[in-house]
């Protein structure tokens, strides 16, 4: 008989911080520049240069630690992680070893069935990113490269590493954890979390153990997963591989493995014996950092409302349902857009226009909310026009289409197309009288007791007014005229 196994996963996530300049020099962190154009003697590690900590890095890292409910260290320091490789011009990375910025945090994840699980965060620390390499020759690996090119633009871009406890139990939980983490980091403007640009990178420590056993099994570290879906797939494959191995009487060996997304398998990269000895020691070029309560509180005040709290507030404050609140809080940009557009008007109506009309349209065009041609103030004005009866809901869609096309304010579109709703009683009465005069037959039918004819007459009035007549008022006027 086969044993039931439990999967145990811990994730190590590297996130690039959204600072304008690098962690230890003033070079730009802008992605996509020509190779080696955002470099200086400091980030190139030239002899004699010294690092100076960018204060904004510390602020963002503290913000991340607070957002992840961590305990901040009173004293924190940098250490050198020594290794020889082309991507590291100093042959060491300035990182944090035994006195990280923050420890003992957590992140709550909610499974589709609504159950909430608290995932522990072991530590959050600051470090510098390495350069990027391009290996020419078949295979694109250094082992068979004819030459290698190094781009040091990324060298010294600030990172935080967020290490979770081995609390994740399924590939899906790993996926949910990453989604939740990304949401928090984006909301707090700590990182843009753009995986394609490498702003967020994830390694997974995976082991399995017989269900009910307390001791952890031997783990494999899985690398090279470039999307959340790949993390889920990689964890799933690796856990199954380990279970199969154990069921066949084999042993899991401690090693680093790489995920091959194309083939959907994991491959061994190096064993524990081949692991580096990084010879960590305190970075003598940077003084110990003392985190005062004042510093931490100042950062805490800048901490925005986090997604979960925002979802709850959107339901209570704006009367939205859970689904809509979830959609609107998917990104901080969208949430901000909504709140600006909903100011002083009907939030549910704004939510509908935003989620149905605007997001649908942006989706088709492949645009983000930040690139929307309709600005929050303009959507706000549109909803206000409809709410006040100056524009019919039906014409509203036409106006919206024009706004999205031309980027115009709704008032401008209404004026240009002459679409304002006619609510003025004198003007309406004239139209009503004209229509009644032109349709003696239906009028007689109605008076003869055929109530349904009223609909026909309303339709005629709307047609004559090109849809601009206020339907409620038309109904009211018609009845007044037709009732004896």
């Amino acid at each position: 008989m086969s044993i039931d196994y439990e999967i145990v996963v811990g994730l190590e996530v590297h996130v690039e911080l959204a600072t304008r300049s690098k962690i230890f020099c003033g070079c730009s962190t802008q992605f996509g520049a020509e190779p080696n154009t955002q470099v200086c003697p400091v980030c190139l590690g030239l002899p004699g240069t010294l690092p100076v900590l960018n204060r904004e890095v510390l602020n963002l890292a503290i913000r991340a630690a607070l957002a992840l409910n961590c305990e901040l260290a009173e004293h924190t320091k940098f250490d050198r992680k020594n290794y020889f490789y082309l991507d590291s011009p100093k042959a060491y990375q300035i990182s944090q070893f035994d006195m990280p910025l923050a420890k003992n945090g957590y992140l709550d994840i909610t499974s589709p069935n609504g159950a909430v699980r608290r995932i522990g965060i072991t530590r959050v620390h600051m470090e510098e990113d390495a350069g990027k390499l391009l290996h020419a020759g078949q295979g694109g690996q250094i082992g068979n490269a004819t030459s290698s090119l190094a781009d040091y633009n990324r060298t010294g871009v600030p990172l935080i590493e967020i290490v979770s406890e081995p609390d994740l139990r399924t590939p899906e939980e790993a996926y949910l954890y990453l989604t939740g983490l990304k949401e928090i980091l984006e909301f707090s403007k700590i990182s843009d979390c753009n995986m394609e640009e490498g702003s967020l990178r994830c390694d997974a420590n995976i082991s399995v153990r017989p269900l009910g056993q307390a001791a952890l099994g031997t783990k494999a570290e899985l690398k090279n997963m470039n999307s959340f879906k790949n993390v889920r797939a990689g964890v799933e494959y690796e856990a199954k591989r380990q279970i199969r191995l154990l069921n066949e009487g084999g042993r899991v060996v401690q090693e680093t493995r790489a995920w091959d997304a194309e083939k959907g398998v994991t491959r061994s990269m190096r064993s524990k014996e081949e692991a580096h000895d990084y010879r960590y020691f305190p970075e003598p070029d940077l003084p110990m950092i003392l985190l005062t309560a004042d510093m931490v509180e100042t950062v805490r005040e800048t901490l925005p409302e986090l997604p979960q709290a925002k979802r709850v507030r959107f339901q209570t404050q704006y009367g939205l349902n859970e689904y809509d609140a979830g959609v609107l809080t998917a990104t901080s940009e969208l949430a901000e857009y909504f709140e600006a557009a909903a100011m002083g008007t009907n939030p549910k109506a704004v939510c509908n226009w935003l989620t149905v009309e605007l997001l649908g349209r942006l989706n088709v065009e492949g645009k983000t909310i930040a690139e929307s041609p309709v600005k929050p103030g303009q959507l706000n004005a549109l909803v206000k026009l409809i709410e006040s009866g100056e524009l019919s809901g039906k014409l509203g869609k036409q106006v919206f289409a024009e706004m999205a096309e031309k980027g115009e304010a709704p008032q401008v579109v209404v004026k240009r197309l002459g679409l304002a709703q006619i609510s003025d009683v004198d003007s309406l009465k004239k139209i009503v009288m004209d229509v009644l005069a032109a349709n003696p037959g239906p009028v007689a039918e109605y008076r003869g007791g055929k109530a349904a004819t009223l609909g026909f007459l309303v339709g005629q009035i709307m047609k004559v007014s090109r849809g601009q007549a206020n339907p409620q008022k038309v109904n009211q006027l018609l009845r007044e005229e037709l009732e004896p």
Binding site: P47, G48, N82, K90, A91, R279
Partner: protein, 485 residues
């Protein structure tokens, strides 16, 4: 033009008064280098064009009535581990042969702004590792007092440039005695300031937590002048102190009267050369006659200094020197693949002493050894700092020999690294404690070789050290003696 006994203070005054053209002086310095360098081998590179241009600029400013800097027209020599923009900076290593940094060290910028005329780069032990200048990958430097003897190290070229009267000022760096020991062996003053007093930006690191740049000069007055220019906070060096810099030259008076001077008993024991011991005794009489009072103090952890130093310094060096890998700059060895290229580059590029220290440091930081070696060394370092703090509560300054012996003969200690390491036995503790230490000439041996005494003070008490040295120099003429060249 005979200028070699002029002080920096003199030179600047004459330039300001118009009695001396900076360009004429610069040409005379270049002539002297041409005359002396073939035998003494002090310079690795001479900046003829740059120095003349700087001198002419001083003359132009003078002629135009512009304000002249505190070092206007004063020639100065730089140790070859200080980065000079677009000018050869090699650390006396083959691995950097021909390398020209794209930037200036902060001290270089400050010297230029002060109107100094930078003559060139002086020889040193490769990567500042050594006590005799014999570890230079290019050639040793010969002692101006007797070319059969070493100049000391690692800043031996800088010390010799001042001793030989080529430039009245020079800059060196001191990690375990690399300014003070060659100063003593060359008969000049050498000053290692408090850690953090002078920016290290642009100083090619040997051991980052110990390295400090400092001046060579014949007189305390000249050293004070240079100290005021190079000291002070630098936003590019996070370890540089945000403490105001006094005008050291204006604070020279004060003398030795009433000064309480500590004599650490551990520094006057075994291994001290009898002639050095005798010179120290004579110096003490001078100090006492000038009103100083002596007290015996103890630095109980002295015997562990050397061990702690060679763990901390080599550990940091193993990391600092890892960047010389043949990828971006400097020598690149041939190799079929990356690891072979690294190996070939470093095997060919580094000399034996540098390799020895990289291996020591790598070992000390390795998994399983870190606690026993590096961590323990840091703990000992803390004890040494406490020793000094306690001793300096009982006295104003501490007086010790600088080096246990006068200059030794070239080749004499090359096969015996441990004896070579003992050359720094009285100086390395000062780096471990981060304190200021100054070596001032205190006599000559029967063979005519200079000797020095060391003054150690509390952190950032540079002015006090210079005052004491100035007062001592006023009572003695040692610093006025010059080698016959």
């Amino acid at each position: 033009m005979e200028y070699s006994t002029l002080s920096a203070v003199d030179i600047r005054e004459r330039v300001v008064r118009g009695e001396l053209k900076a360009e004429d002086l610069c040409r005379a310095v270049l002539d002297r280098i041409r005359a002396l360098n073939p035998q003494l081998k002090i310079f690795l590179a001479v900046d003829e064009a740059g120095s003349l241009a700087a001198a002419r600029e001083v003359d132009r400013k003078r002629a135009a009535g512009e304000v002249l800097g505190p070092l206007a027209g004063v020639p100065i020599t730089l140790k070859d581990n200080l980065c000079t923009k677009n000018f050869s900076t090699t650390c006396a290593s083959k691995i950097l042969d021909g390398w020209k940094p794209p930037y200036n060290a902060t001290v270089v910028e400050r010297l230029k702004a002060a109107g100094a005329v930078l003559m060139g780069k002086a020889n040193m032990d490769e990567f500042a590792m050594g006590s005799s200048c014999e570890n230079s990958a290019f050639h040793p430097t010969f002692n101006p007092w007797n070319p059969a003897y070493v100049v000391g190290g690692s800043s031996g070229g800088s010390a010799a440039a001042v001793a030989a009267g080529i430039t009245p000022l020079a800059l060196g760096s001191d990690t375990g005695g690399s300014i003070r020991q060659p100063a003593a062996l060359c008969g000049v003053m050498g000053f290692k300031p408090t850690y953090g007093r002078v920016s290290r930006y642009g100083l090619m690191a040997f051991a980052s937590s110990l390295d400090q740049i400092g001046p060579f000069a014949y007189s305390a007055e000249d050293a004070a002048l240079l100290m005021s220019v190079i000291s002070g906070h630098d936003e590019r060096d996070s370890t540089s102190a945000e403490i105001d810099v006094p005008d050291y030259r204006a604070q020279l008076s004060g003398g030795l009267k009433g000064l309480k001077v500590g004599l650490p008993k551990e520094y006057y024991g075994e291994g001290l050369d009898p002639e050095v011991r005798a010179a120290l005794e004579t110096a003490k009489q001078v100090w006492r006659a000038a009103g100083a009072e002596f007290v015996e103090v103890s630095l109980p952890h002295t015997e562990y200094c050397l061990a702690a130093y060679y763990l901390v310094a080599t550990a940091e060096a193993s990391s600092n020197l890892a960047r010389y890998d043949g990828v971006q700059y400097g020598l690149r060895g041939e190799g079929g693949h990356l690891l072979a290229m690294y190996g070939a580059t470093r095997a060919q590029g580094f000399g034996p002493e540098v390799k020895r220290r990289i291996m020591l440091g790598t070992y000390a930081l390795s998994a399983g050894y870190y606690d026993a070696y590096y961590k323990k060394a840091l703990q000992v370092r803390t004890l040494i700092q406490r020793d000094f703090n306690a001793a300096l509560k009982q006295c104003d300054l501490i007086l010790t020999p600088t080096s246990p012996t006068p200059a030794f003969k070239l080749g004499e200690r090359m096969d015996d690294p441990l004896t070579m390491y003992l050359s720094d036995i009285y100086t390395i503790s000062v780096n471990l404690a981060g304190l200021p230490g100054l070596s001032v000439p205190c006599g000559f041996t029967s063979q005519g070789l200079p000797m020095g005494l060391q003054i150690i003070g509390p952190a950032f008490a540079e002015a006090k050290l210079l005052q004491a040295a100035h007062a001592y120099q006023a009572q003695t003429g040692w610093h006025k003696r010059r080698p016959v060249l």
